[in-house]
């Protein structure tokens, strides 16, 4: 159910605004889509990885004898065999390709094997004898903050501390007077991206001494920038092609098996494929940073915010990954989309011996949003206002400044969005229907209730997310567009390195080319490193950035065509000129670092808002929850493809629901207790309710077509809205997500 304020003109030939189906959709539903795990070459070998069973240990020795001797084994490699740089990393090169003298988390890669059969490779990996001296791990992030904790890396355990200070807090920590003060401590558990297609790829050695890697990733060029030095090869000899990606959500920003497969291929001279199984996948990628947060909000008697104080501690685990940016987001967005005259935030990211945490949809902003939105409900209760009213009174709008002092210089109609959300019709409440369908009740067909113990609740939340890369990063994307006659008809080839990770980018890029060039026949070439970087399929940025690059390249093509005079038809010109090709880089407006002491600075490119209303049915005796409906209003600036956009909002909301109610990597002493889909639960169709959506189009004049990145914002507000609804139904504080049944039933 979607209503869109501005109706985009009907589009007959597949340009922007049209409801174009995605080319991979039917294939995926039928099980016919070729994922990276389906890659195959006749003579390929299979790689396997030996991982650390210890959370923290010194490596005393590695004995490969038995593994090497196994028939069918072609190579067994350790850190000694890494041809170039021994470490890689997105921001800090602190993560070893293979553990050198110590392991810092359970599951860290120690050695790799190539064999002629996957089973042989796995057996050989098991036959490697590593002698470890276990060390006491640092698993409590609060302890990691203490300078006395044993350093996990040289330089100590604090990865980044980012303060934000505005108003009176520029002079000191003393809070200004406020009529109402609410304080809360909140915790976010470790969520996993839980993509369905495990890490996988195929490395093929080339005759020129280089390597071709077919890989499911989010950013081909940044993979290459880390791979080439580790392989000791110049970048041009490391060529990457995107293979079928089975979901990403941030988990494919870091390298997993890329260097390993290439090392094995270069060593054996044979193609090498590596595919993780589900359990290994849980150890093979970073997770969402768990967070502990303390918030203090002061307001006047009317509920207008006077100040916000917050301390946000993010557990980055054993390696840096994206922790720097995650901390930056938590700090800069930590007060939410509200007008707050005085802000005092300290966000920290720390190293621990827990699994590395990095990018996941909404990173940094998701955790903070749970904190500040929980606080807004407390404040509403303390001021005797409704949750909607307190948010409307404090909402940002165009002309406001966020915590960093950055001016909101594009439409930000938060108050209107909330009003529209609150005015949406309420769903039927299942427990109030006669003879309710079990599927509509908490517990579903497990038949735990037929209405007994069920109470309903409603909750609201808003979220603020930055779109594109922030803090001065040179963020750009490249597109090559070629127009030519094929069979006498104009045809457009769009070539970029942008990763289609399931978000529908391939469809949107073709739509843009059609709109810009007026040519119906458009092919999007496979993404690879033969064209310049497109940046990451992260930060909700690809429609903006690669969309912008395709648009710019099309404009350049148009300019060349225009030189031939307006009278000629495209076919006539192309018959004359032959193919016309243009490549363009597109950059968003520059951003700037955050001040290290005050956090001030225009650090973000674009700000996006989403608001959610959740209606839940809670079995208060058993602690089971059924989300009856999620309603959302999101402003996307401009709708490029309604059906793909709705899919993003549904998916983001579902991932937020997962964090609210079930998704958590459970840890004990740094060890993962549930590395499988048996016990790491993600929402099913009986958990994710129908959504009521309203999508607004208030254009951002700085962005291509006025669009606003849309993949992440709904992940933020969905979680606190659901928790607010459960609090509303139960009267409980519920300071932690995911909520577990015992938190409701036994408190």
């Amino acid at each position: 159910m979607t209503t869109s304020k501005a109706t985009t003109s009907a589009n007959t030939f597949g340009g922007i605004g049209g409801n174009l189906p995605r080319p991979d959709g039917t294939l995926k539903v039928r099980g016919e889509f070729a994922y990276s795990s389906d890659l195959w070459l006749e003579d390929m070998l299979w790689g396997a990885t030996l991982r650390s069973p210890h959370v923290r240990a010194r490596i005393l020795g590695i004995d490969l004898t038995e593994a090497i001797a196994m028939p069918g084994v072609h190579a067994v490699l350790t850190h000694d065999d890494v041809p170039g740089e021994k470490h890689y990393g997105l921001d800090r090169r602190d993560q070893p390709v293979l553990a050198v003298d110590q392991v810092r988390y359970q599951g860290e890669a120690v050695a790799i094997v190539a064999a002629d059969h996957p089973e042989t490779a796995r057996r050989a990996a098991k036959a490697i004898k590593v002698s470890y001296e276990p060390l006491p791990p640092v698993v409590d992030p609060a302890w990691a903050l203490d300078p006395a904790s044993p350093p996990i890396h040289p330089g100590g355990n604090v990865v980044r501390r980012q303060p934000v200070r505005t108003g009176v807090f520029l002079d000191g920590p003393g809070a200004p007077p406020a009529d109402v003060v609410v304080v809360g401590e909140y915790e976010v558990g470790m969520q996993d991206q839980a993509f369905l297609g495990p890490e996988s790829g195929l490395a093929v050695p080339a005759e020129d001494g280089g390597v071709d890697l077919y890989i499911a990733t989010q950013w081909l060029h940044v993979d290459r920038d880390q791979l080439a030095p580790c392989l000791g090869l110049p970048p041009e000899l490391v060529r990457l092609t995107l293979a079928g990606v089975g979901g990403a959500f941030g988990a494919r920003e870091d390298l997993s098996m890329q260097v390993h497969a290439c090392m094995l291929a270069l060593r054996t001279g044979r193609p090498v494929k590596i595919v993780y199984d589900r359990q290994e996948s849980f150890f093979g990628h970073v997770h969402r940073h768990p967070a502990r947060m303390r918030y203090e909000h002061g307001a006047d008697a009317d509920g207008r915010l006077v100040y916000v104080k917050a301390e946000i501690l993010l557990d980055g685990g054993a390696y840096c990954s994206s922790s720097l940016a995650v901390v930056g987001n938590a700090a800069s967005l930590g007060a939410g989309p509200y007008e707050v005259p005085n802000i005092h935030i300290d966000a920290y990211g720390v190293y621990t011996n827990n699994p590395p945490c990095g990018a996941m949809r909404g990173f940094g902003a998701v955790q903070a949003c749970f904190g500040y939105e929980s606080q807004m409900d407390r404040l509403a209760a303390a001021c005797g206002l409704s949750p909607v009213e307190i948010r409307i009174r404090n909402a940002v709008s165009e002309g406001s400044r966020i915590a960093t002092g950055q001016l909101v210089d594009t439409p930000a109609p938060l108050a209107e969005m909330l009003a529209e959300l609150a005015a949406m019709p309420m769903p039927d409440l299942p427990a109030e229907r006669p003879g309710p369908d079990l599927r509509d009740l908490p517990g579903g067909v497990s038949q735990t209730t037929r209405g007994e113990g069920v109470r309903h609740g409603v909750g609201y939340a808003v979220g603020l997310k930055n779109i594109c890369y922030s803090e001065g990063f040179d963020d750009y994307s490249t597109a090559r567009v070629r127009v030519e006659l094929l069979g006498g008809k104009p045809h457009v080839l769009v070539h970029t390195a942008a990763a289609e990770v399931g978000q529908g980018l391939v469809t949107v890029l073709a739509q843009i080319a059609r709109t810009e060039l007026g040519v119906a026949n458009v092919t999007v070439a496979p993404a690879d490193t033969r064209v310049g970087s497109a940046g990451s399929s992260s930060a909700s940025r690809q429609s903006y950035m690669t969309g912008g690059a395709v648009r710019a390249a099309c404009a350049a093509v148009r300019d060349r065509l225009a030189a031939h005079g307006p009278a000629e038809s495209l076919t006539e010109i192309l018959a004359l000129t032959g193919p016309i090709e243009e490549t363009r880089e597109y950059r968003h407006r520059p951003t700037f670092p955050m001040d290290p002491f005050t956090g001030q600075g225009d650090s973000h490119t674009q700000l996006a808002l989403c608001v959610h209303r959740a209606v839940v049915a809670v079995d208060v005796e058993l602690g089971l929850v059924k989300t009856v409906e999620l309603a959302a209003v999101q402003d996307v600036g401009r709708i490029l493809n309604p059906i793909a956009l709705e899919g993003q909002i549904h998916g983001a909301s579902a991932q937020g629901l997962g964090l609210a109610l079930m998704e958590e990597i459970q840890m004990e002493g740094g060890r993962v207790l549930n590395p499988s889909f048996t016990d790491y639960l993600i929402p099913t169709i009986l958990d994710m309710p129908p959504m009521r959506l309203s999508i607004l189009e208030h254009p951002d004049p700085h962005a291509p077509y006025g669009l606003r990145g849309a993949g992440e914002p709904a992940t933020l507000s969905s979680t606190p809205a659901i928790v607010a609804a459960v609090r509303n139904a139960t009267g409980l504080e519920l300071p932690r997500v995911p909520i577990r049944p015992e938190h409701i039933a036994l408190t």
């Binding site: 796995r122 199984d277 359990q279 599927r439 908490p442 517990g443 579903g444 067909v445 497990s446 038949q447 735990t448 209730t449 037929r450 007994e452 113990g453 005796e621 058993l622 602690g623 089971l624 059924k626 109610l661 079930m662 459970q666 207790l673 549930n674 048996t678 016990d679 639960l681 929402p683 099913t684 169709i685 009986l686 958990d687 577990r740 049944p741 015992e742 039933a745 036994l746």
Partner: protein, 289 residues
């Protein structure tokens, strides 16, 4: 790995006698997971799918004999009226794909304390028919079948052929706690069966002890307290006491799926609710017949 495909039950028993280490496979929804995750490397698989009789059921002397290989999907379709508790439990197993392949025989073979078919089998006084070439066939009461975490009374040379159970003569209910609303392994579960003719009540507890088990004291208490002849509503104190006795019968642990305290608490709630549903249905039936 050798793949044995007997064409008949007799041949299956032969092969099992010859190779007691052969792992039977029916739906494979447990076996294949273990193999894929390298938790088990059997030298031989004994495929029971060709033995057609295993997926059929019959009635003799008023007792149902249900083949061990009957899938949850066919059980729901064909036996919901006779075995409502087991059908409800079957409806909660995994996803449609799993229910299309998985079987009660496989659930028994795996003998997981979390297996969903166990509580209703216990509550309905089912017996498990097992057989070996050497010693022939024997009937094991469900209560004696479960012997430990993933251990059963099945001998290495035996196969499960069927289970025997009387069609329901009174209301039966099954309830299962999971942290999501479908496709979830039980945090704990509970089954109840009223046997009005015998004036008895059967129960089964899942996922809250090393084995599925009955709540004997709770059964005796409630059978004595229920006013079988009248249509009197339940006394809330009696319902509460029943819940307490069921909770006491469990010996749960803390694990990733839930805490011991929560499991005990939830069992009490499920016991009260299912008893209430069963009694209301019982009263309704008495009114209409």
């Amino acid at each position: 790995m050798e793949f044995l495909r007997p064409a008949s039950w007799a041949e299956a028993l032969e092969l099992k006698a010859e190779y007691p280490d052969a792992v039977p496979i029916q739906g494979g929804t447990d076996v294949m997971v273990e193999i894929n995750f390298d938790l088990r490397r059997p030298a031989r698989l004994l495929d029971l799918n060709p033995v057609a009789e295993l997926s059929r059921w019959s009635t003799t002397g008023g007792v149902l004999r249900v083949g061990a290989g009957m899938t949850y999907t066919s059980l729901i379709r064909e036996l919901s009226a006779d075995l409502p508790g087991l059908a409800q439990a079957s409806r909660t197993v995994g996803s449609p794909q799993i229910r299309n392949r998985g079987s009660v025989g496989g659930n028994l073979g795996a003998a997981s304390p979390a297996g969903d078919s166990h509580p209703p089998l216990l509550a309905a006084d089912a017996e498990i028919e097992v057989e070996s070439r050497a010693r022939g066939s024997r009937l094991i009461p469900a209560t004696a079948f479960y012997q430990g975490v993933k251990r059963s009374a099945l001998a290495p040379d035996e196969l499960i052929r069927a289970f025997h159970v009387a069609p329901a003569t009174g209301p039966q209910y099954f309830s299962k706690i999971g942290t999501r609303n479908a496709m979830v392994i039980a945090v704990c579960s509970f089954a109840i069966a009223l046997h009005p003719r015998r004036r008895a009540v059967g129960t089964g507890i899942g996922s809250a002890a090393p084995t599925p088990r009955r709540a004997g004291a709770a059964e005796e208490y409630i059978a004595a307290e229920l006013d079988w002849d009248s249509r009197a509503a339940l006394d809330p104190r009696v319902v509460a006491r029943f819940g307490e006795l069921v909770a006491q019968a469990a010996s749960p642990i803390d694990d990733v799926r839930g805490t011991a305290d929560y499991r005990r608490h939830a069992l009490g709630v499920l016991a009260r609710r299912t008893l209430t549903w069963a009694w209301h249905e019982h009263m309704r039936e008495r009114t209409t017949t």
